[in-house]
Symmetry: C2
DNA sequence: CGAGTTGTTGAAATGACTCAATGTTAGTGG
DNA sequence: CCACTAACATTGAGTCATTTCAACAACTCG
């Protein structure tokens, strides 16, 4: 169990006393697929760590647009915003597979942070890195076309959820609809469908609820350089 | 001088000893317009606080696209990434007006953070809030059209740099070209030019290197609801 | 005053979205 | 285990916002 905590950078290099304290003050809970671990708009009251399963972070814009911020898995924390007073969760988190989590209330946390300075430093590092990632995605959205963004998204998901098989193909082990992908990359389900289909015809991927990447190099190429337009598969045929 | 530190949420509620320690270990420096306070790609070696002037955070993408992340002014910190080992600055910071800054090296900082836990908590809060802002902008980019994004950008800049005059107009006191605005909102200088011109003809703003918002309410309307398309000014005429 | 930067504007090209119709898959209950 | 249903995926045609590119006008700063 203690090992579990160490999966998260939050708990790196903490004294045993701190880990014990954290474990002792944690409250466990379980969720079924579809359950909300966090509801957007609720007061941000605590931080959690996923100990099992996969969940997705969804954000609903004021005008009703749904966006998929990212997926989290075992060992990843959520709700750091509870460290800031008077805040509200800016997004919902929904279980994709059955999930378990450990929970700490905001007060417990602030106490722990003041008692174990290292914890604060770790949390800060986590947030700094996360913000950099957010910033990077922002930049991609700003400058890249849809096809490239989808490629980047698949690579990212492969990194997080990929299982390589004997043939070197990577299964992105995560049930995901075209619409999920669209919300994740900032496009429409029609566009993702078309793009995935094109890549399937090119033999680069096997589509389905769980995508298989047959030719990761090709996707890298798309993500970083030119699209397939100029390649062997004429567009729209 | 101590008051200066308190402008930043980093130093909220710190004991006097901590403030004194921070002041004692700070190194001051000055910059002329155009100077780089930080160069993208350099090793992230320290954190600073602007004590004077305005600077812009610019990020260059691998494919050579320039983006303008945000502006910072007096009291705002930059370089928190130096808290994470082995990092590189992900962006450049350039002085827009003459600037002064206080600087702390990464090592100094880590020591200070471990010695004054409250500092870590504060920094964490700053980063959590900043990440939320980044996330919000990401979402806007994902779901909003260019015109609305420009409106949102102007409102944000007015918030940060606005000086209200007798007539209730707001001067955004920040020299900014169309291209800056374009890099800031993720569009082209042509689009920002057209949009600003349209708003000028509608009497909503006075364009120039420093934009004046005559009718903030109208911009709010554009930012939140419908564009002017359906309004008194026919588009493209 | 003149050279370079910055801003404006039009026309054409286009990537992506919208919408509607149709096909496919997965999961449910008989 | 099969049939049925609802969710998901594909595809085409039409549209539109935005970009691109080119030409020119207006600043502004030595």
């Amino acid at each position: 169990m203690r090992a579990l905590l160490c999966w998260n950078d939050l708990f790196v290099d903490l004294p045993d006393a701190a880990l014990d304290h954290m474990l002792a003050t944690a409250a466990p809970s379980d969720y079924q697929p579809g359950d909300l671990l966090i509801r957007q708009g609720d007061p941000a009251d605590g931080l959690s760590i996923l100990t099992q399963g996969t969940a997705k972070l969804c954000q609903l814009t004021p005008d009703g647009h749904q966006t998929l911020v990212r997926y989290i898995t075992c060992g990843q924390e959520f709700g750091l915003i509870a460290l800031v007073p008077e805040q509200v969760y800016p997004l919902s988190i929904a279980a994709v597979t059955p999930c378990s989590a450990l929970y700490w209330s905001g007060d417990t946390l602030v106490q722990a942070f003041l008692r174990f300075p290292r914890l604060g430093l770790n949390a800060l590092r986590v947030m700094v890195v996360r913000n950099q990632e957010t910033q990077l995605r922002y930049q991609e959205l700003l400058t890249e076309r849809v096809e490239r963004r989808v490629a980047l998204a698949l690579l990212r998901l492969a990194d997080q959820f990929g299982r390589t098989d004997e043939q070197g193909s990577i299964l992105v082990d995560l049930p995901m609809t075209r619409e999920d992908l669209a919300e994740f990359t900032g496009t429409t389900l029609f566009s993702t469908s078309r793009i995935l289909r094109k890549w399937q015809l090119a033999g680069i991927i096997e589509p389905g609820r769980r995508v298989v990447l047959n030719d990761v190099a090709a996707i890298h190429t798309i993500a970083e350089a030119d699209s397939l337009e100029s390649g062997p598969i004429p567009c729209g045929r």
